[in-house]
């Protein structure tokens, strides 16, 4: 079920999350229209992984609300068909082959066998995994694992795709294929929420960019508008990123909160 017309694909309102005394998110609000590739940027420890976990319902906010395609993320049964999630560590079973893994996920999602078989073959071919599809995942390279995990995240044709560092560890060809896939998904009406450190990827595919720093969204808008924040310093997205996040990684936040530490959710 795609979001009804006018409903944002992802809507987060005033999200707050703390781990003990460490505030991970402090009043984050997002409203992402369907069909958007949303580039989510932030330095280490900014709270990106925490945000992803809250948006996918894998963690609960201390306060605030998240709806994906109009569905409250607490309603897990209704949410499952809408979202696909590729975490930073691919959730794969090393004892399975890629084909077994994908068939297992298709089975859990109750995809009809013929549909599943067609999609699995198509994606395996598209990501150059067909020749190794029957090898155990334990023997895969990091890039192959990431590609397999990407395929399992999109197998059910989700409305919203959450990707955490999807191109990390990929060779240039695979990275390009991944970027093309994101754009294809967005062109098909799906929403892609892309969290990454690789700024050229964001520049290449994102329609909208949000920058998270110290648990807050400190810049948001089209790629060009965010880039314009650094006009005086060269005008690249990297310059803009450095400008809005204090100029260096882990820079002390204005309120003296914890910074430079890893995102608590990423450590879980």
């Amino acid at each position: 079920m795609a979001p009804t017309t006018g409903d944002p694909a992802v809507e987060a309102t005033d999200l707050r999350k703390a781990y003990g005394a460490a505030v991970a998110l402090d009043g984050v609000s997002l409203s992402i229209p369907a069909g958007t590739v949303y580039g989510f940027l932030g330095p280490n420890g900014a709270g990106k992984t925490t945000t992803m976990r809250l948006l996918t319902g894998l963690s609960r906010p201390d306060s605030g609300r998240v709806r994906v395609c109009g569905v409250d993320v607490a309603d897990r049964r209704a949410l499952a068909s809408h979202v696909g999630y590729l975490p930073e560590t691919p959730p794969l079973y090393e004892e399975f082959s890629a084909r077994e893994q994908l068939e297992y996920v298709a089975d859990l999602r109750d995809l009809p066998r013929d549909v599943a078989a067609e999609r699995i073959d198509r994606y395996l071919g598209a990501f150059d995994l067909a020749a190794d599809a029957d090898r155990r995942i334990s023997g895969y390279s990091k890039g192959m694992k990431r590609k397999t995990a990407f395929v399992q995240a999109v197998l059910h044709d989700p409305d919203v795709l959450f990707l955490d560092e999807p191109t990390a560890g990929l060779d240039p060809r695979a990275a390009r294929r991944m970027r093309e896939s994101m754009v294809e998904f967005a062109d098909g009406g799906a929403t892609v929420f892309l969290s990454t450190h690789i700024l050229p990827v964001v520049e290449a595919v994102a329609d909208t960019v949000g920058v998270l720093f110290d648990g807050r969204v400190v810049a948001e808008g089209s790629t060009d508008s965010v880039r314009s924040r650094a006009e005086g310093e060269g005008g690249s997205l990297e310059d803009a990123f450095l400008a809005v996040t204090g100029g260096r990684e882990g820079a002390p936040p204005a309120d003296g909160g914890e910074s430079g530490s890893e995102d608590p959710a990423a450590r879980r």
Partner: protein, 535 residues
Amino acid sequence: MSLRRDLRGGSRIARAEFRRSVRQYTGDWRRLLGLVVAVVFVGGGLLVTVPAVYVLGRTTRSVSSIPGFAPVATVLPALLVVFAAFRTVERIGGADGEALLLTTVHPRAVVVGLVGSEVARLAAWFGVPLAATVAAFALGVGSPTFPITAAAVAVPMLCCAAVWGYALGLGLLRVLRRLPRLRRLVKWVGIVGVLVAVVGSQAAGRLVAERAVAFAAVLDAVTFAPVAEYVALAFVGTPLSRPVSLGALAVLAGVVCLTPVGLAVATRQASAVWFTDAAADPASAAKRATTGGFDVPRPFAAAAAGRVAWGHLLRAARHPQELSHLLLVVFFAGPLGSAFVGSSGEALGILIAGTGVGLATYLAGAAFGLNPLGDDRPQLPLVLLVGVDARTIVRGRVLAGVAVGLPVAVLLPAVGAGIGAPPGVAAAFAAVGGLLCVTASTFAVGVGAAYPVYEERKFWGSETVVPSTLVMLTYLAVVGGGTAIALLLTWYGLAGLTLSPGLGVGLAAYLLLTIGVPYGCYRYAVRRYRRYTVG
């Protein structure tokens, strides 16, 4: 509709998890070897058990004449719940690939899948011996329907115990998450509990035999007739059958009704555990800090190997989970337990002194020496390229082990002397213990380097790289035997034993082996480090 869908999803998860377990076992020859040993061990036991159960079936005239039937039948469901809770805390409280499963299916399906896979694994381990035992009893009783009725009674009870045990286990995990300090305390309580159980079990048999009447009274007290009558339903259709009581039927109805309730409770507990975050641990790694740099104290600072040893000791103190494999020695404490209980005065003092030496030699090698390459694996690209000679690396491990063992070798004999051991004996034991710590630690690095284990595994609640069990048992046998011989020779030497030619030859051979084998092991370990390639 949603229940059916969750059960379907759960069965798929259970099947996949079971298949993964089978592949993990069959893909590792060490595990297969362990499986073969288990099969031989259990098979040997069955050779005795099956005929005994057959005879029991032949001779039993009524259910009540089966020894301990009522109390065992009463306690059994509670034990199953506790066992399920234990397995939940230890293994199935969470799923591998949690992010995938929880964004794909409802948590109830994951609960069903995890519990189902664990039941399947346990059935694979214990199914054959249990089936053989039940079949033997059925043959003895002369009732072919007994396996069917037994299964009809067992399955509802197992399902109920499994879901409630899972709910209980997850409840414990929630509590431990909220109270991280309690979690650490529980680990220590668990270790002490196992020690008490192992030592206590040695005295339990004697206690039961001596106080048979009191024990019978305890059994009577724990018996709850309706539950025992429910379990006795397994004998319906056999010559042992007794009239079906209302109490038994009420228990059956209760078990059937409580199972879906337990599943609902378990699902709520699972959602609470899986979708909430652990309370911030005040002692969490993120908040720990050290000032002052890498200051190595004397005498470790005197040599490069000493500084390496200090590094091992410091890391072990900050991350003691890496030494969790040392707890294996707890299982050897049983025989000593009864010896301690039965001794006093001088004998107790000598026993403590000797035990101290044994413990010291064990710690000296087992702490840092039994898996040197495996322990160092993540740092090997640094260690091998930093320019430190392999001898220094190996000597560092040996020294670190000696630093752990030596204080024990000195202190416990001193305690023994305080209790009543002759000071001369205690001092001699301490001196011999100190020397043996060096040889044991040197021996360990060779044995450990011969069979490195690189994979992390869960051991006593900690995910860490631990030495191979085979290596540990080999080490225990050799060093334990060698230490015992050394202590006996010391004891007889102090008692003024005359050295006959035969004994002299034996002593020389012992000394040669005690020095020569560890030296050879040391050389071997150095060579392994020098020739090691990452790959």
